[in-house]
């Protein structure tokens, strides 16, 4: 596969609570001959707060980023489900034939991708298959996709929004055992983490139970909000429900790093609150 270069919109979380996601992305992309050029001077997309209470801002913020990406002339990739979604919302608004509300002239020749969709294109799966040096043998995992990377399809342009399969295909290529379950696109409570932690507890505990019922030993996520809500809360939820849950929450990029033998994987994983080391050691995947 020829080396590729795309524009990259990391989003605010990747400079904060999701530094492990950021580090794993930076770590694996050179292994795949993928150059990520960060959009210079990007701003926050406004996230849930903006679309909840300020619809003008909710469009203006991602529109600025999209205009900057267009100037760079390459497809743009976002690792965060909501950043991706807001870029797509801006794209739809700016490409509206009835005229866009911001009066910007956007040509729309570039494509917006969420990172998981980008790295699970057929070509990349083939490259990955060749590069696996440490298959994630017997690692039983459920894929957990961020809601708004898929929904609503009118915005995301995704075809398999109810039952996406690309994470499972990736896990198979990496030698893991992806399990089927019906909750891969169910909500974790997302931005309610601070305002209504009780809601997160209910939803996350439900997901732990369903993951266990499917026979899973861990979650694999492609959204940092999902990671935070399943990982940071696990101790609290275990106490609250009187049941010691142990389900490490991996970013798919960390698992790519593991299977491809990246030397820094342990540093990324050490940032998790639910320590994946016992699980991985038990499988003989790490020493």
């Amino acid at each position: 596969m020829t080396p590729m270069k795309v524009s990259y919109y990391p989003g605010c979380s990747l400079e904060n609570t999701a530094v492990d996601y950021a580090a794993s992305i930076a770590g694996i992309s050179p292994l795949l001959d993928l150059e990520l050029e960060e959009i210079a001077d990007w701003n926050c997309c406004g996230a849930t707060a903006a679309h909840s209470i300020n619809h003008e801002l909710a469009l203006a913020l991602p529109a600025r980023n999209l205009m900057a990406a267009e100037k760079m002339g390459r497809d743009v990739v976002a690792p965060c489900a909501l950043c991706f979604n807001r870029l797509k919302v801006a794209e739809k608004a700016l490409k509206n034939p009835a005229g866009n509300p911001l009066g910007l002239s956007y040509q729309g020749a570039i494509k917006i991708w969420d990172l998981l969709a980008y790295l699970t294109q057929e070509d990349y799966l083939q490259v990955l298959a060749q590069k696996v040096v440490k298959p994630l043998k017997d690692l039983k995992a459920v894929g957990y996709y961020g809601c708004v990377a898929a929904r609503p399809p009118e915005i995301t342009d995704k075809k398999d929004y109810e039952n996406p399969q690309n994470m499972e295909r990736l896990l198979q290529v990496l030698g893991a055992t992806p399990l089927d379950w019906s909750f891969k696109t169910d909500c974790c409570g997302a931005g309610h983490a601070l305002a209504r932690p009780d809601i997160i507890d209910t939803l996350a505990q439900r997901l732990y139970e369903r993951a266990y019922a499917a026979g899973a030993e861990c979650f694999v996520v492609s959204c940092q909000m999902c990671q935070a809500n399943l990982d940071l809360t696990q101790e609290r939820i275990s106490k609250k429900f009187g049941k010691p849950y142990y389900l490490p929450v991996f970013y798919f990029t960390e698992l790519i790093g593991l299977a491809l033998g990246h030397p820094q994987v342990k540093e990324w994983l050490a940032k998790h609150l639910v320590d994946p080391a016992p699980l991985l050691k038990g499988k003989g995947i790490i020493d």
Partner: protein
């Protein structure tokens, strides 16, 4: 006794003007059936749509539901009539604030406000540390809970040790004039 129902089309018309036509709803309840947050709601999503169409502004604008919705977009995706139900929830939240009404979920509304202000404080990028600090103070002022504060501090410390909580704000974009112009949309 309840006041007699006086249907009005004003709210439905406003929603339609805001690109959120809801009048095609035939109450199939698919939105409520798939909603993962119903356990925390007072009105179910299909009831919000029906009451909006009947012009029951007071009922929908004072509902917890519109604030509890997590915008997972399941309802919008599955609506057979193409109604953007999550979009209606957003519109109602903004309308509630515009009218200066009491917010039934002050934590959620304050979180959103602080989030936008944290973008302003960060010169264009959100700072999670600033947000967490301010929001914790807000919560403790409303209801002081030593146990919760202790747990939060412990979590914060564990994240800080792992480099997952940046205390010194975020990298602000360089073109500050452009950013400031954009952020004028945030009224605080």
């Amino acid at each position: 006794m309840d006041t007699p129902l006086r249907p009005s089309s004003i709210l439905a018309e406003k929603l339609a003007q805001g690109n959120l036509p809801a009048s095609a709803c035939y109450q199939c309840k698919k939105c409520s059936g798939g909603c993962p947050l119903t356990f925390a709601m007072d009105l179910l999503p299909h009831q919000v749509i029906l009451l909006s169409l009947l012009g029951q502004e007071d009922k929908v604008l004072s509902a917890n539901t519109i604030w509890v919705c997590s915008a997972c977009e399941t309802c919008t995706t599955r609506c057979p009539n193409g109604i953007d139900i999550a979009g209606v929830m957003d519109w109602l939240k903004e309308e509630n604030l515009k009218r200066g009404r009491t917010v039934p979920q002050p934590e959620v509304a304050t979180f959103h406000r602080y989030f936008l202000e944290s973008i302003k404080a960060g010169g264009g990028r959100a700072s999670e540390a600033t947000l967490v600090r301010r929001f914790t103070l807000f919560k403790m002022r409303r209801k002081f809970d030593f146990q919760e504060l202790k747990e939060n501090m412990k979590l914060g410390w564990r994240l800080f040790k792992r480099g997952r909580l940046r205390l010194l704000g975020s990298h602000a974009p360089k073109k500050q004039a452009e950013i400031k112009e954009l952020l004028r949309l945030i009224k605080s």
